[in-house]
């Protein structure tokens, strides 16, 4: 437990920039639109893609670039603990702010809120986070991992939406589980890449 707490503290500190982004995007619209929480919640939902990408992108890239992960890798702690701590620190606050925001959306009787719409939104969020997480295990920069994942997933989602719109008989929510699946797979792939990196790296 002591080990895990030390890892959590370390990851919390490493994710500080992404946490600040999350705080700004989660609270900013409510501060700017104090009289209209439902509208603020809609803005938060859109802005939430940014901290999702930032938190995923912050997972491994900086530690690897600075060789800090070698410091950790020689300590008596398993890769499972290292990765669990990272997932908890990244997904915990994101899940919390997203849940609170969805609660505000649901209570606002907004006609834009539907279960299907929310599930599509969450699947897309997961895809962005997952891809950023995977790229973080492969690229040296958290910012590049985050921005790339954001651009790729948003572009892919737009193409997907255009295709679904063109095919009038297709249920618009049919591709949502694919996005979620891609996100979960990307998280797994990122974890494997990180664990395997130790045997893939170039000679020093």
């Amino acid at each position: 437990m002591k080990k895990f707490l030390a890892l959590l503290r370390k990851d919390w500190r490493l994710n500080r920039a992404a946490m600040i982004t999350l705080l700004i995007t989660a609270l900013g619209p409510y501060v700017l639109l104090p009289g209209d929480p439902s509208q603020a919640a809609v803005y938060v939902s859109i802005l939430n893609f940014v901290p999702a990408a930032a938190l995923g992108g912050a997972a491994f890239a900086r530690e690897r670039r600075e060789h800090w992960d070698d410091f950790l890798a020689v300590m008596p702690v398993s890769q499972l603990q290292i990765i669990s701590s990272k997932l908890l620190v990244a997904l915990g606050p994101l899940a919390l702010t997203t849940t609170l925001n969805i609660a505000v959306l649901m209570s606002g009787h907004s006609n834009t809120t539907s279960i299907e719409g929310l599930s599509s939104y969450l699947c897309l969020l997961l895809a962005i986070f997952g891809l950023a997480w995977l790229l973080s295990a492969l690229l040296p920069s958290p910012a590049i991992a985050a921005v790339t994942s954001l651009l790729v997933v948003v572009a892919a989602a737009m193409i997907d939406s255009a295709i679904v719109d063109a095919a009038h008989h297709v249920n618009p929510n049919i591709t949502a589980p694919m996005w979620a699946g891609a996100g979960v797979l990307a998280v797994f792939a990122g974890c494997i890449c990180h664990a395997r990196r130790l045997s893939l790296e170039l000679p020093l």
Binding site: K3, A6, R9, E66, W68, V74, S78, P203, L204
Partner: protein
């Protein structure tokens, strides 16, 4: 599997580090080639070789940061990398470049590392902080290279590891800081019976610290011998020839030779009086001196000899 250890050290001592036929490749390049090495418990081993010889790769395999493509590694009897997690608490590792989180303060880095080791000693940390003159409030990224190396050493020593593995910890340190680091290391290791495995380009330091030394060249171990034995068995012979005919045949065991005018320098491995008798018998000699060599000279001549054989 038959061990190809070349150390000549007491085989009855149980090895703390054992590498058997270890090979590691990066693409087409073989960084470590069929390396076999056995380091007894409580001994100090100096790993030497040119840049790119494969020392860091061998060390990274030893601490579980890289997997070998062939061969077996055991540290404290534990197989690496298969049982890497069990091995980690036995080892204190100081890398060639400091890798402690730069944003941490020295004290935060100590507290962080402490969480992972049940054998962590606060008393030892206090003692080492004083010995290394480290400021606990300073951020790691603001430490000089020497201070960062000292912090890495402190973190490696504070959990009282059975084996200390240092990868060129003194490279880039100025002579004064290097001396302080070395003194700190010697003092820290004194009376603890820890095994020390270190690589270094500063061969005077290796000569001072190591019981045995191994020379790695292009991934292959050329020799592994006790330092005293190596130095007593390797001599430089300076011959002044008395005519301009040039040098005659050389005895077996010549490591390297150079002729400049009438002066003939020969480095002899496995030195014996019979080699001198051979030289005297086969050459017209005005003067012959047998000189002791430093580890640095042995290293240089061994590599010059290798290069001459390879035709470089």
């Amino acid at each position: 599997m038959k061990s190809d250890d070349k150390s000549g050290l007491d085989p009855t001592m149980s090895p703390m580090i054992q590498m058997e036929h270890v090979t590691r490749r990066f693409g087409r390049m073989t960084a470590v080639n069929d390396l076999s090495l056995s380091i007894p418990r409580g001994s100090a081993f100096g790993f030497i070789g040119l840049n790119g010889a494969g020392k860091t790769t061998a060390i990274r395999m030893m601490v579980g940061l890289l997997a070998p493509h062939a061969g077996q590694i055991r540290v404290g009897g534990i197989r690496v990398p298969q049982e890497r997690d069990a091995m980690k608490s036995l080892v204190g590792y100081v890398p060639d470049r400091p890798n402690v989180y730069g944003w941490m303060r020295v004290i935060e880095a100590i507290d962080f590392a402490k969480a992972f080791y049940p054998t962590w000693s606060d008393a030892r940390v206090t003692e080492l902080l004083r010995l290394f003159d480290l400021d606990p409030a300073k951020r790691v990224k603001h430490l000089s290279k020497g201070m960062a190396a000292k912090l890495s050493l402190l973190l490696a020593l504070a959990h009282d590891p059975q084996v200390l593995i240092l990868d060129e910890p003194m490279s880039g340190l100025d002579p004064l800081v290097r001396d302080e680091f070395l003194e700190g290391l010697i003092e820290a290791l004194a009376q603890r019976g820890q095994t020390l495995f270190f690589s270094s380009h500063t061969l005077a330091d290796v000569q001072r610290l190591a019981d045995s030394v191994g020379l790695l060249h292009e991934g292959r171990l050329l020799f592994h011998k006790p330092v005293d034995e190596l130095l007593s068995q390797t001599k430089r012979v300076r011959i002044v020839l008395n005519d301009s005919i040039g040098p005659g045949p050389v005895p077996p065991g010549v490591m390297w030779q150079q002729v400049t005018g009438r002066e003939w320098l020969i480095t002899l491995g496995d030195f014996s009086q019979s080699q001198i008798e051979f030289l005297k018998a086969k050459n017209q000699i005005t003067n012959l001196d047998v000189m002791d060599m430093s580890l640095e000279d042995v290293f240089k001549d061994c590599l010059r000899g290798m290069r001459a054989k390879e035709g470089v």
